[in-house]
């Protein structure tokens, strides 16, 4: 075991030395891609393929526009696509991850079916990267299917899924999201999937998803679903359902409804929100206080005055906190 430790350290030192040597040559060339395709094409020894792909992808993720195109042109002249394809088929997990990312960035259509298969891989990292690669290659033809997978795979962090969809943009994601959500709501996916899709809809054109969101808010029974729908509501015509849910038995739904009321409600909601300051749950009281301050044409001194008149000390305390927060902001 001692010998293994020694050998590993010797190997590490050699690898690091080799990496430093090549990085010193590669970094200036890759940085040149900001201005154009470098005239000099770097050599990548077989043992350094993984490392080069990683640096290349790092630059690709950091740059945008023409610089990215230059990087891709450089990759083409270096046959990085072939290297990536080979690593995707024969490499270990680490190599497959970087290979899939590269194939996506190079929009290599030849690997389409392999990537589709990898979307079902048990590794969340590899499967999610494969999904992203498919989107990089041809988003319109794969989004409808991928969004149903995104809804079903709860091991794919929602934050990463939303980041990918945001990069694609609302024009492309809105209709597939509505389609997937409607199918899930018909009973093909269950409440959990509908709730997940509603969260993804934050990156969609909100006016297009509104009818579906309103339908869920009106018809759903699950508090999680109702809250997810309420979070997306922007249309003052939905105020009646928002006000109804502000009296829901679940504190979670009440607080979300009140938050929405603060966003789309009007001055006429003031008394209702003042009443909600006495709710039994802290978060509902807090959201009511914040919503009061967020109502349009609601000067701080009017709310301050209302605070002075409150008999319930829970209501007065929470409103005082919200006012202090608003003043500090």
């Amino acid at each position: 075991m001692l010998i293994a430790v020694f050998l590993l350290r010797i190997r590490l030192v050699m690898v690091q030395r080799r990496q430093r040597f090549f990085e010193a040559q590669w970094q200036p060339l890759l940085a040149e891609c900001v201005f154009g395709v470098p005239a000099e094409i770097p050599q990548v020894p077989p043992k350094m393929r993984y490392h080069f792909l990683k640096i290349w992808n790092f630059h690709h993720e950091s740059l945008a526009g023409a610089s990215r195109a230059n990087l891709e042109a450089l990759a083409e002249s270096m046959h990085l696509g072939e290297i990536a394809r080979e690593l995707m088929h024969t490499g270990n997990l680490r190599e497959r991850l970087i290979a899939v990312m590269t194939i996506g960035h190079l929009r290599d259509r030849t690997q389409w079916h392999e990537l589709r298969d990898l979307v079902a891989h048990p590794s969340p990292m590899l499967s999610l990267l494969s999904a992203r690669a498919l989107i990089d290659i041809d988003a319109p033809s794969t989004l409808a299917w991928l969004i149903t997978v995104m809804a079903a795979r709860d091991d794919w962090p929602l934050s990463r899924v939303v980041t990918i969809l945001r990069e694609v943009g609302p024009d492309l994601v809105t209709l597939p999201l509505i389609g997937a959500a409607e199918a899930a709501a018909r009973g093909e996916g269950g409440d959990t999937q509908v709730a997940r899709l509603l969260k993804m809809m934050e990156v969609a054109h909100i006016e297009h998803v509104s009818p579906f969101v309103g339908k869920i808010a009106r018809e759903a029974k699950s508090p999680e679903l109702i809250a997810s729908a309420l979070r997306l509501m922007q249309d003052p015509r939905d105020l009646d359902i928002v006000r109804t849910h502000a009296k829901h038995e679940s504190w979670f739904v009440r607080s979300t409804a009140i938050r929405t009321l603060g966003r789309i409600g009007g001055k006429s909601d003031m008394q209702f929100l003042i009443d909600m300051l006495s709710d039994t749950h802290w978060w509902v009281r807090y959201r009511a206080a914040r919503a009061l301050l967020a109502l349009p044409d609601m000067p701080l001194d009017i709310v301050d005055h209302a605070c002075g008149k409150l008999q319930d000390h829970f209501a007065a305390d929470i409103l005082a906190q919200a006012i202090a927060e608003a003043r500090a902001a």
Binding site: L12, N92, L97, I98, M125, P157, V162, A324
Partner: protein
Amino acid sequence: MTVNDWVVGTQWFFLLYFICINMGYVMLNLLSMGSIKRYVEAHSLDDIPRGISGFEIPVSVLVPAYNEQETIASSVRSMLQLDYPDYEVIVINDGSKDGTMDALRREFELEPFPEAYWQRLPVKPVHAIYRSRKYPMLRVIDKENGGKADALNAGINASRCPLFCGVDADSILERVSLRRVVEPFLVDPRTIASGGTVRVANGCTVDSGFLTSVGLPRNPLALLQIVEYLRAFLFGRLGWSPINAVLIISGAFGVFSKDVVIKAGGYRTDTIGEDMELIVRLHRLHRTDNIPYRIVFVPDPVCWTEAPETLRVLKNQRIRWQRGLAESLSLNIGLLFHPRGGAVGWLAFPFMAIFELLGPLIEVAGYVLMILAFFAGLVSQEAFITFIVVAFGFGLVLSVSSLLLEEISFHIYPKPRQMFVLLLFVVLENLGYRQINSAWRLWGLLLWMFRSKARWGEMTRGASWQTGSGGSTH
């Protein structure tokens, strides 16, 4: 039964015990090897830039502080610069007798804030809540002294986020610490707690509360603890994670689902090892109520802490840890061999009870009795040598294997010379240090049995990196 039968029986008992404990650790080591390799591969692209979605789970970083005037400003400053998109920092001044509160007021321009404090867990009275004018994400709770657990409970009450992260005030974090430890919550919604590897900060360079370069200390006691921490974290904890049987998440840095902890009753204020007790209790409650859950250990080094450099302080720390272990297990004894206990009730808990809790008693008794019996001529030379080989040899194998795991995974200590120094201390650790540790732990066990009173763990901090906003510790 003759005296000779007793002697032979005792010999076999100790020999078998030492073989069993070391085989247990070897098994954990093998489990760790597999999971660390998978982990490192799966996270190989973590340093490639990634966008922020706005869907990251918000976290409240809770920093209980008691007499931390030397380090608190630097620690909090570093916690305000973590690479995480949505978090708040809550410092809980637990009735410090020194200038901790003044240091916080001065450094962060605190002003009293009229907060509607929501007391979901019972805590000692809160005097005031402050908010920083400079950093709106920072709040400070000034409360009556009630111990670390009480301070954490007060922080949980004030927290506004679904996750909270308990951090020791003297902890030095990595910028990506939160991101790393929150990840299990994103990947598996059943996750209720997650912790990472704690490393020894002595000898490292710290700037503005962040670790800038890794080094080895000159103090031999700190060096021995580096080897010990490697073993404790890299396979003492990682080995249990794949079978959902992690029983310890260090109080120095651990992330929890707030609602789950509140439902479980928060941290117990009558124990020393409140961090371990909470984890064992969460296991027990979820197992007995048949609720799906995950408690995850992340092997990344997320937190660096100052290790004691004097025998007196180290002794007190180890006594405290052993008492904490005893309390945590005894308070949750219902988990042991519970029909729904799973891997934690049938493997990890008994392993901890037999080898970690009672281990010092058997080890010390083993050393003393075998030596006495050898000199009294009751034990043959062959048997004595076998015992010594098993006791020291296996220990050496385990220490070297933890170094091997380190080389496979993170190789934190970059210079070859550092690796050679560690290898030397891997050997030295088994020649006296482990045995002294066993004696201290036995003392801790006895103190627990005789129920002496628990207090905040007082530790003398060098805090030599605290030179203005930067500086270094060597």
